[in-house]
Structure formats: structure tokens, C-alpha cells
Amino acid sequence: MNAISDALIITKRQLLQLARVPELILFSIIQPIMFVLLFRFVFGGSIDTGQPGGYVQLLMPGIFVQTVAFTLAATAVGLTADMQKGLIDRFRSLPISRSAVLFGRTLGDAALNIVVLTAMGLTGYIVGWRPTSGLFNVFLGFSFLLVFGFAMSWVGVLIGLSVREERVATNATFIAVFPLTFLSNAFAPTTGMPKPLQYIAEWNPVSTMVAACRQLFGLENQFGATAGSFPSENPLMMSIVYMILIMAVFIPLSVRKYNNSSKR
């Protein structure tokens, strides 16, 4: 019981930070909104999807997934900063559960994602995004996105605990996430890629997530089912498998790393 309440205290700390410095929220939502608008109006006009509603229907799930994937960066940078300032040392000297600090942070970042996704969804709606699958499926889609963000957050924990400087954390996570989101079906069909890349793109968890969300938001996954690979045929199932896999690997590794974090 204590482990959970300890974690929630750490989560509350992050929410308090947002309350004390509201600019933090502002800047967390400006970038994704900017992306929605840029892709919608810069590329949207010249990409013919042959679907009713146009590019924005395909774009929104892609940009949602990209945004939650980038939770990894926020988590990593936040943790590295806490380490640098000695805050992690203080937490480790307290009689609290060993994983509370990490769960608290990943939950806090997930909470921020709720705000970010809401802002993006509304922006998308304004510029023409219309999910057709009904309220329940839309809700399911967003829940999926939150869990995926939570899983990616744990990759960020391991990176954050492994580097020594905030700037390194920023760069390392950018290098990790950027190709991951672009080597996918998020913004363009995989059919245009060279064959080997196409396979990588289709097995990419970002692609399965995007395809799954497109399904949940009531869209034929036109960008996904291209090479007929297993993930592109079963995006929902593969996304769940990926999320479980990521958490099963990165949560224990991160907790172990945290317990040894001062041995460096």
C-alpha cells in the first residue's frame, strides 16, 4: 500500500510543478498543436489519400502516437535533472519503496499526456478530423495512446538514469525517438520505402500503434496494410504485445538501475 501512496506523492509533486509554473503546460501542448497545423496545411493539400475527409483523418492518429512516443524524452530529461540536483539521492535516503520514485514520475508524465492529447484532439477537430467509430471506440483509442506513452516513458527512465547530463538526455532521446516515429506509417504510406525499410517500418511499434488507432477511430488502415506483414494485418494485437513487452523489459531494468544509481 505504501508503495502506491509513495508513488502518488511523487506524481503529485509533478502536478504541483505544473500548477506553480503554468508555462510548463503551455509549452508541452504548443509543439504538438503546431505539428497538427503544419502537417494538416503544409502537406495535407498535396497528399491525396483517396479517402473521405482527406489527409487529416490519417494524420491525426499518426501525430497522436508520435507525441506520446516523445513522452520518453520528457521522462528521461526530468529524471536526469533530478539526479544532477541530488534530489534522487535524497529520495533514496528516505524509507520509501524502491520503485515509488520511478512509478511516480511515469504516472506524472502520463497525467500530462491527458492534457496534451485533449488539446491535440480539439485542435484536430477544428481542422477537420472526424472520428467515425463512436464515443466508446474513441475513448478506447485514447486509452491505448496513454498506455503506449506510459510504456515509452519507462524507456525514458532507463535512458535518464544512464546519462549524466540533461543536455545528453535531450539529444539521446531525440535520436532514439525521431527515426522511430518517421520510419513508420505515421505520416506517409510505407509502400514508398525501399523493401528492407518497409519491413522495419511495418514491425515498428509506432506503426502498429498508428494502425491500431486508425482502426479504433473508424478508418481503413490504408497506409499500413502494404507488404502484408503480420503486424500490419494485426495491429491491435501487436500493439498490445509491444506495450507489454516494453514494460516487461524496461520496468525491471529501470528499477534495478535506480537501486544502483549512485554506484557510478
Partner: protein, 331 residues
Amino acid sequence: MKAVIAEGLIKTYNKGSIKALDGLSLDVEEGTVLGVLGPNGAGKTTTVRILATLLAPDSGRVSVAGIDVLKHPDEVRKIIGLSGQYAAVDETLTGWDNLIMFGRLYHLSANAAKSRAIELLEQFNLTEAAKRPIRTYSGGMRRRLDLAASLIIRPKVLFLDEPTTGLDPRGRQDMWGVIDDLVKGGVTLLLTTQYLEEADHLADEIAVIDHGKVIARGTSDLLKKQVGGERLEIVVENQDLTAAKEIVAQVSGGGGINVDEGLRQVSAPVTTGSKALIEAAKLLDEKGIHPLDIGLKRPSLDDVFLALTGHVAEEKKDEEVLLTQGRKRGK
């Protein structure tokens, strides 16, 4: 009853290439203050981190309040307080937010955390700054809040790692006052410092460490006896050297007078402190000698090291870099 015992601690970094602790042993009697004195890189921070459950030694035994630190770290965490060299609080949050958060993490009820926060803010003279974000605090205020956070559960044993390093003289005086009050309250304290003056002021006993080992141990009087205590130093024009020597002899009682003709300086150990200084100044004035410089020199860390080891306190750069990497932060 010993509140802290460390025996034969060995700790190496980088696969053994850097030896931070080389068989360090120390203990602290319950209700007393031990000052661990040493230069940067001597192993002070490593020692504190091991005692405070943050780091496991390669070998050695550690216990705090009779509890084995390596076997039962969680039990130890319930009775210790730690305040480090870098004030470890959340700078975005206010002082109040921080104390409540740490209080809750110590599993105090919401009400208990609140009343303890009010008490501590009062005690550390931070009540007015309570609702301000920490990043607006001065260095001294941050340290005081950091110390307050480590006292939430009224720890039996308190570890302070260089509590005044980087503070201005006023911040240092304030901090000393705060620590004095704590000690009067009966806490067992182990503090590390680079300043002999600080150890002298705050500690009952001093352990001097160098290269990961305790090289001397005793009360500050004992150490000072080894080092030579305060010295009266007078610098005069060449023609006044002889007269100045006589005056210094008169004031100091005669022993150990040192005349450096190159520096035109006369010095001697004194035991009467500022009284000797005033007396010397008066005698110089009576003879119409105007000293170029006159003062009392307190023994520094370098003097202690010189007396104990024959070399000055040198910094082990490698280890320092390793230890502070990832913990550095801008002023």
C-alpha cells in the same frame, strides 16, 4: 554507546583504478558531534554516502544506531537525516511544498506533515519565504531548507556533507547557529568539512582524513597542539625588525619566534588570541613603529596537513570529478 561505527571501509571506482576509501574506520559517540576534516577528494562524501545507505562499500562494516547499514538499509533510513553538499530540494516548488512532500514521504499524516512544516519553517527562519519557489532563495536559505527537510522525522543520527561549502560568511554564520541549536537538542551529528575553523567550532571530536584513511583523530585542542595553534604575525620595515622581534617575544612569552628577513616578518605562536594582537599593536605604537601588516593567523587545513603528513592538502582531481559528475549545478 556508539551511534555510528564504520570499520575498514574500502571503496574503489572505475574497476579499482581510483581508490576513494582505503580502509577507513571511524565512530561517533551517541549525542556528540564528529567533524570529518579533509581536502576535496579525500573520501568525505563517499564515507557519508555509505553511512547514509546510498552506496555500498567494496568491503567493511557499517552500523548506525546499532543497525547494520548493509543488511537493513530500510531500517536505517527511518532514523537518519541527510543533507548534502548540493541542496537537494525541488526548485520549482515552494519551501512549503517541499517540506509537505518530504513529510508525506516519511509517512506522516497530512496534518502531521503540515504542523511539522510550520515548526521547521519557524525554526529555520523561513516562514516568510515559505510560499516562494526555492529558485528565488539565497544559497543560505536553500541550505537551511535542505537541512529542515532532513529533520522532518527528528532523526537520531544526522549526516551533513559540507553544510557551508559555497556559502558567503553570513550564510555560514547562520548555518553554524542552526547547527549549534541542533546539537544542543542532543542529536548525534557527523559532519564533513574542508575548514578547520568549522570543525573547531562545531565538533566535539575531529577525524582528519586523507587518501581515504583517517590520519589523525582527537579534540580540536589536541589537533591544534599538534599544529601549533594561532600565530601572531607582524610585517615591518627592515630597520624595525629587531625591535619588532623584541615585542613579539614579550607578547608571546618567548618561545618559537620565527623571523623571515625576506618577508620582513616576525611571527610566534600565541595563546591569548586577540589580546596578544592588541598588546603587540600597543607596544609597536609606543615605539613609533608602523607595521605594514599585523594579524593573527589561525591554522588552516593546510597547516594541519603539513603538521600531520608533511605535505599540504592536495586535491585528488580524478575522484572529485567522478563524484561530482552528474551532481554539479550552476551557482
